[in-house]
């Protein structure tokens, strides 16, 4: 289930990026949304979630960005944040939406900061803000769908 959600999100993310123009407010970051939401499906006793996020980041780089380990590192950081959030903060649909918004913002901020530090492209807060605000709608909708699926799965698991 976990692997299926991650693989599906990763591939759907790539296909949507190819066909959704940059100017729209529907920019997809489905992999990051999925990475955050599947956190409760992993055990907190071991590091399997962090390892999965590293692998996902590596695949993301190889498929889409051509930057060797950039997303591996970013996804590990995001997974660590997700674990802290799920262990210490309340869980509900509304909370999850807020967490998704925060995760996307952290992702864009991390990307911008790294690109700024290594002087790859000119970075401004406006660009980070643009990318952040234009990614919200698609990811929140996808997040709600995934949340419902995961809750349903957890519910079934409890009853079995």
């Amino acid at each position: 289930m976990k692997a299926l959600i991650l693989t599906f999100s990763l591939l759907l993310d790539g296909v949507l990026s190819l066909y959704i123009p940059e100017e729209t407010i529907f920019l997809p970051l489905l992999t990051i949304t999925a990475l955050f939401l599947i956190c409760p499906l992993y055990s907190t006793k071991n590091n399997s979630y962090i390892l999965a996020s590293a692998l996902l980041g590596f695949l993301y780089d190889q498929l889409y960005t051509s930057q060797l380990f950039l997303h591996t590192i970013i996804f590990i950081i995001l997974a660590t944040i997700a674990r802290i959030v799920y262990n210490n903060f309340p869980q509900s649909l509304l909370h999850t939406i807020i967490y998704i918004i925060i995760t996307i913002f952290i992702y864009e901020l991390l990307m911008g900061t790294l690109l700024y530090i290594f002087q790859i492209v000119p970075v401004s807060f406006n660009r980070i803000n643009y990318q952040f605000t234009h990614s919200l709608i698609t990811n929140i909708i996808y997040g709600i769908i995934l949340y419902k699926i995961i809750k349903l799965k957890e519910h079934k698991k409890k009853h079995n």
Partner: protein, 262 residues
């Protein structure tokens, strides 16, 4: 307790160093793929090809349209071809578009386009693609090949803000050719920016911008038209804004130009 704290600090420092090295390696490898990367990249391109096949089948733009328009461009009148040959002899030009082989390719992915402005295409080293080749569509130049693996390549678009990415262009006015450097993209205005033109050169809206043929690019490929110009901050040259001929949000099929002798 103190020892535990120290251990945590050492662990954190080591992770930080490791992360920094990994990110440095990621950015440092921006000119070519390592053998290790190539293997994954080819596997990735295979997956992307399988994925976009059904999606591509239902989109309106087909490779046929692209090839057709290219053929229209290429099928120049016989007499014009003769004229070009004669002019070539006179001017000793050895690089015109007719001396290039064309490789048609499909765009596989363009994730991270906002920051990196790159696209991945389904043609690689085995199809004869090498670094630095010009990539065009029926609207004109869109970028050049920056990374090649066995079965796929990465194209850096003209809209890239990469500090090291520049293209030599010529702005054709009524009376002369003005050589300049295309070196950026204005996100707010959606216009390409050209610099390194003397401020005394008079340019007007509608002047054509073409590749100059310097820096390994074929000569005379259309890029766009001049919209406006202004004197730069140092009062030395002009910054010219160019309206690109290509809609960069809608690139699905491209053509790579390869020198016949290569």
């Amino acid at each position: 307790m103190k020892r535990k704290k120290e251990r945590k600090l050492i662990k954190f420092t080591l992770i930080l160093i490791l992360f920094t090295i990994a990110i440095y390696l990621s950015f440092a490898s921006s000119n070519s793929y390592s053998k290790f990367e190539e293997k994954f990249k080819d596997l990735g391109s295979l997956i992307s090809r399988l994925l976009i096949y059904p999606v591509g089948a239902v989109t309106t733009q087909s490779p046929g349209n692209q090839s057709e328009s290219y053929i229209i461009q290429k099928n120049i009148n016989k007499s014009l071809e003769q004229e070009i040959e004669e002019l070539k002899d006179v001017l000793k030009l050895n690089r015109t578009l007719t001396e290039y082989d064309v490789i048609n390719a499909t765009v596989l992915s363009r994730k991270g386009k906002y920051w990196f402005n790159t696209i991945t295409i389904d043609k690689g080293r085995k199809d004869g693609v090498v670094n630095g080749l010009a990539v065009i569509t029926n609207a004109g130049l869109i970028g050049k090949i920056t990374k090649v693996s066995q079965k796929s390549s990465e194209v850096k678009l003209l809209t890239s803000d990469d500090i090291t990415y520049k293209t030599s262009v010529v702005i054709r006015t009524n009376n002369k050719d003005n050589y300049a450097i295309l070196n950026g993209y204005n996100q707010k205005k959606n216009l390409l920016t050209v610099t390194a033109i003397d401020k005394s050169n008079s340019l007007s809206a509608g002047d054509t911008v073409l590749t100059s043929g310097l820096g390994g690019m074929p000569q005379g490929i259309y890029i766009g038209t001049v919209v406006s110009s202004k004197v730069d901050n140092y009062n030395l040259g002009q910054i010219v804004y160019i309206e690109p001929s290509q809609d960069y949000n809608n690139i699905h099929y491209v053509t790579i130009l390869k020198e016949k002798s290569k």
